[in-house]
């Protein structure tokens, strides 16, 4: 167990950043996560794979506090995220950013304002500083010319790249990616994955990724976790999981999706 005071020291690369202890999540009589234990080290890129309904997305939603576990504890950088008082949740949540399957950009704001809104209101950044940073991020995702556009004027791929920039603007330590290419037309997927590959290569951000893009998972992951029925049934480096899985269940799943 971590010392409660450990939060005073920022996590160095390779230290444990996220930890689930005996986390159970039920929806009605359906147990989605079953006393799940797992941890993610700082700076690592971890991909969660497994059949739909196996609890992968639920893990991201619990980390983003979009849902609450029924039992167990969740710790981020030594601080409790659950169970924790609301004030602490707000502090811990600053370390986490998320990109959604359906982008969820704010349609009533320009692209630029989508990105600057939270840094200005939550981090207290000045408007000029936030805009300068937003323009840098838009440039990074290849959309420097779309500052003043409305999200609805963009293609799905462009919207998702804005959503990535918006999440990064909060300088999170962890980026949660929830099937970020599933809602995209096939020809738009590559552009989004390229941006994410870039981020994985050039930053030290920790990534937790749920995806059905196995080639992408193989490319960027340091570790792959195979889920089935709310438990991790196998984990390892991508070469191991994709080329020589130990469990039959993993083999079956991979042969179905590859």
């Amino acid at each position: 167990m971590k010392d409660p005071d450990a939060s005073a020291n920022p996590p160095v690369d390779g230290s444990e950043l996220i930890r689930f202890d005996h986390v159970t999540k039920r929806f009605g009589s359906n147990t989605v996560l079953d006393e799940l234990d797992f941890s993610v080290e700082s700076g690592k890129h971890v991909t969660l794979i497994g059949p739909s309904g196996s609890g992968k997305t639920t893990i991201l939603r619990l980390l983003m506090t979009l849902a609450k576990p029924d039992e167990g504890t969740i710790t981020v950088a030594g601080d409790k995220l659950f169970p924790a008082p609301e004030k602490q949740v707000r502090e811990v949540r600053k370390k986490i950013g998320m990109v959604f399957q359906q982008f969820n950009l704010f349609p009533n704001m320009s692209v630029l304002r989508n990105i600057t809104e939270a840094p200005v209101t939550v981090l207290g950044m000045s408007k000029d500083e936030a805009e300068a940073r937003a323009r840098e991020l838009l440039d990074m995702v290849g959309l420097a010319d779309k500052c003043d556009a409305r999200p609805t004027q963009l293609s799905g791929g462009q919207q998702q790249r804005v959503a990535i920039a918006r999440a990064l603007a909060m300088r999170p330590q962890v980026l949660l990616l929830d099937e970020v290419t599933s809602a995209l037309d096939p020809e738009l997927v590559a552009g989004v994955l390229d941006v994410l590959r870039d981020i994985a290569r050039t930053t030290d951000i920790t990534m937790l990724c749920v995806t059905h893009e196995m080639n992408f998972a193989r490319d960027i992951s340091d570790q792959v976790l195979m889920f089935d029925s709310g438990r991790v049934i196998e984990s390892g480096v991508p070469e191991k999981i994709f080329n020589d899985p130990e469990k039959d269940r993993t083999r079956e799943f991979l042969s179905a999706v590859l």
């Binding site: 983003m64 506090t65 979009l66 707000r90 949540r93 600053k94 986490i96 950013g97 998320m98 959604f100 359906q102 969820n104 950009l105 704010f106 349609p107 009533n108 704001m109 809104e117 939270a118 209101t121 939550v122 918006r166 999440a167 909060m170």
Partner: protein, 216 residues
């Protein structure tokens, strides 16, 4: 029955007085119903039952009792409790309050139509709840409900003559007064009927245009 243009000309000064009062009722009543309806809708979203329950009962009560009864209540009963307002003020407040119980339903539908993903994105960005409401949810919800609110403004316009019953001299009140004094009913009533159409019909066209523009 003959049409007397002279009577129309005689009525016109009173017509303008009445029109001014009708428009006052409409504008102020609408503003009250827009603001109060939003307050009701937001109170109905609070987590505590102790807020939602009384608000639900009161608004349900107002929506399901006749406006005329409420007008009489405000005009004849409230003064007994020491609250003396002019007939116009009483009427504006009553009609605004009455319609706020309808606009609250419009706002509720608009708020519920904002996708859950918008709340989730706001949480993911750590936006405070109040800021999420004012910067993300309400702008989207209100945009969607502007046409529906417009329809209630038109409905309210057609309800303004009820205020005549508490002595407010709006269009119908002026027409009736003129009729009783001059024994000429056709001309003033026709003139105000035309006036209602001239306001309501363009307004309904405007609402339809807004619908096309704002509701996707």
């Amino acid at each position: 029955m003959t049409w007397d243009w002279g009577a129309v000309a005689d009525f016109m000064p009173r017509f303008w007085d009445g029109l001014l009062v009708t428009l006052q009722i409409l504008v102020l009543g609408s503003l009250i119903s827009f603001a109060l309806g939003l307050v009701w809708a937001l109170l109905m979203r609070t987590p505590t039952r102790w807020v939602r329950w009384p608000v639900g009962v009161v608004t349900e009560f107002i929506r399901n009792t006749p406006l005329l009864v409420q007008l009489f209540f405000f005009f004849y009963v409230l003064p007994e409790w020491g609250l003396t307002w002019s007939a116009l003020t009483t009427g504006v407040c009553a009609i605004g309050l009455h319609y706020s119980t309808y606009t609250m339903q419009v706002y509720r539908a608009g708020i519920e139509a904002v996708p859950a993903g918008q709340w989730e994105a706001a949480t993911a960005l750590n936006l405070p709840v109040r800021h999420t409401w004012t910067a993300v949810i309400l702008p989207q919800a209100i945009r969607r409900v502007v046409p529906a609110l417009g329809n209630y403004v038109i409905a309210m316009l057609k309800d303004t003559p009820i205020l005549m019953s508490i002595t407010v001299l709006e269009l119908l009140g002026e027409a009736r007064l003129f009729s009783q004094q001059n024994f000429q009913f056709t001309e003033p009533l026709t003139v105000i009927g035309v006036a209602f159409i001239l306001i309501a019909y363009p307004a309904s066209l405007l609402v339809r245009a807004l619908e096309r523009r704002l509701v996707r």
